[in-house]
């Protein structure tokens, strides 16, 4: 089963270069809605393990990546295809909404 991968300022670019479709979950340990979104993201990571890489970025530890994408509120999900940000979702959402957005941007 595919897992959500913790990315950081050092390795983030590598994931962008090596994966066609990425969902990035910006979170922080204090963000309660972020915690509740995690099972949904795990489901997405498992059901799309061949085509989508799901990354999580802790904004407290990764200021460079957070600033690069102008993340100012949590949770924020970025949908990156071929290195380009296609869309973002701000605020807690359920797996169906993530799935729907994934279909739209794929």
């Amino acid at each position: 089963m595919a897992e959500i991968i913790s990315a950081n300022d050092m390795n983030f670019e590598g994931f962008i270069k090596n994966n066609r479709m990425i969902i990035v979950d910006f979170w922080a340990p204090t963000c309660m809605p972020c915690r509740l979104m995690e099972p949904g993201l795990e489901k997405i990571a498992a059901s799309h393990q061949e085509s989508v890489k799901v990354l999580k970025v802790n904004v407290n530890d990764c200021p460079k990546t957070s600033s690069r994408f102008f993340v100012h509120t949590l949770p924020t999900l970025l949908f990156i295809k071929d290195g380009q940000v296609k869309t973002q979702i701000v605020g807690a959402v359920n797996p169906n909404q993530i799935e729907k957005t994934l279909i739209e941007v794929s």
Binding site: R35, L36, A92, N94
Partner: protein
């Protein structure tokens, strides 16, 4: 998803989940629909200290996770989906979802509320660029910065206390001369050296280009206008009930709240309400849970009358 249910509960916050536990224990085939994440708005809070039964403060997300698991013990089905319409037809409530329509003999409507916004200049543009509605979510972005919290209730004061752990200065801006929050929260706020208070002031606009830079205020007593510099602003000025689906079904007050009595039934057959959609609710988890239980019991009485 199956089409026919005894009860469909709309809303997966404290009221909806409490109702679900009781409907499940009544052996009713029960579906709970939640358009966001299960748990409701309380998951945005950092701690709950006033929920009876817990001697130590509890993490809201963990409490709600327990409620979700508790519904599972009684065969309740939880689904993430958004209701687009609700209609009574041929003796059943028809509930239109994203890709299908489901039906139930009874509905417990516990769709909660959404954050209220001020509707002033700059607010929409700067939302997510310094303006936030969730301190536990966004506090890390304001480490050693100056932030404002707008409001005077439990949420505003709790958020100010949480933000004081991160920010260099927190300013509570309230349109009245006193808070309506719990006294214990007021006491903590007054004693916190990082928290300042601006009383009797209303926000006229939010200033900033790419990000929030300041807030324009008007003092309601003497009419003085000033622009105060802030890096962040957290809105905690109340909520708006999610009752759009009910507006042609039950009587709502001028603010969109459902008017009901202790039974939590409505004029519409087989439709019960619970939680923050009800006029006069005080936005407490314990109250919402109690209302969920009451609505489920009234619902069960109704269903039993059909059996």
């Amino acid at each position: 998803m199956e089409k026919n249910w005894d009860v469909i509960i709309i809303g997966g916050g404290p009221a909806g989940l409490a109702a679900a536990i009781y409907c499940g224990r009544a052996l009713r085939k029960t579906l709970v629909l939640e358009k966001k994440v299960f748990g409701g708005q309380i998951i945005n809070a950092d701690i709950i200290e006033n929920y009876p039964g817990f001697a130590e403060p509890i993490v809201p997300a963990e409490l709600m996770d327990q409620m979700v698991k508790q519904t599972g013990r009684y065969g309740v089905i939880l689904e993430n989906d958004e209701v687009s319409s609700l209609e009574w037809e041929k003796g059943f409530w028809q509930v239109a979802l994203y890709q299908q329509t489901v039906a139930a003999k009874a509905i417990v409507y516990a769709a909660g509320s959404v954050h209220r916004f001020l509707g002033v200049s700059g607010e929409k543009e700067l939302l997510g660029r310094g303006i936030s509605v969730c301190a536990t979510c966004d506090a890390p972005f304001f480490l050693r910065r100056k932030v404002a919290v707008l409001g005077g209730g439990d949420t505003a004061l709790s958020e100010a206390l949480h933000l004081a752990k991160f920010a260099s200065e927190v300013v509570l801006i309230h349109r009245r001369g006193q808070f309506r929050a719990e006294k214990i929260l007021q006491d903590r706020v007054f004693k916190n050296e990082k928290i300042k208070i601006i009383w009797d002031s209303e926000v006229l606009s939010f200033k900033g280009d790419q990000k929030l830079e300041g807030i324009e205020l008007r003092n309601k007593i003497n009419g003085t206008l000033e622009i105060v510099g802030f890096d962040g602003a957290f809105l905690a000025i109340g909520t708006i009930p999610n009752t759009e689906l009910l507006k042609n079904i039950v009587k709502l007050d001028e603010n969109g709240y459902v008017i009901t009595d202790i039974s939590l039934s409505t004029d519409a057959k087989g439709l019960f309400v619970a939680g923050e959609v009800i006029k006069g609710n005080r936005r407490q988890v314990a109250i919402s849970v109690g209302m969920g239980v009451q609505a489920a019991l009234s619902c069960e009485e109704y269903l039993a009358s059909l059996d």
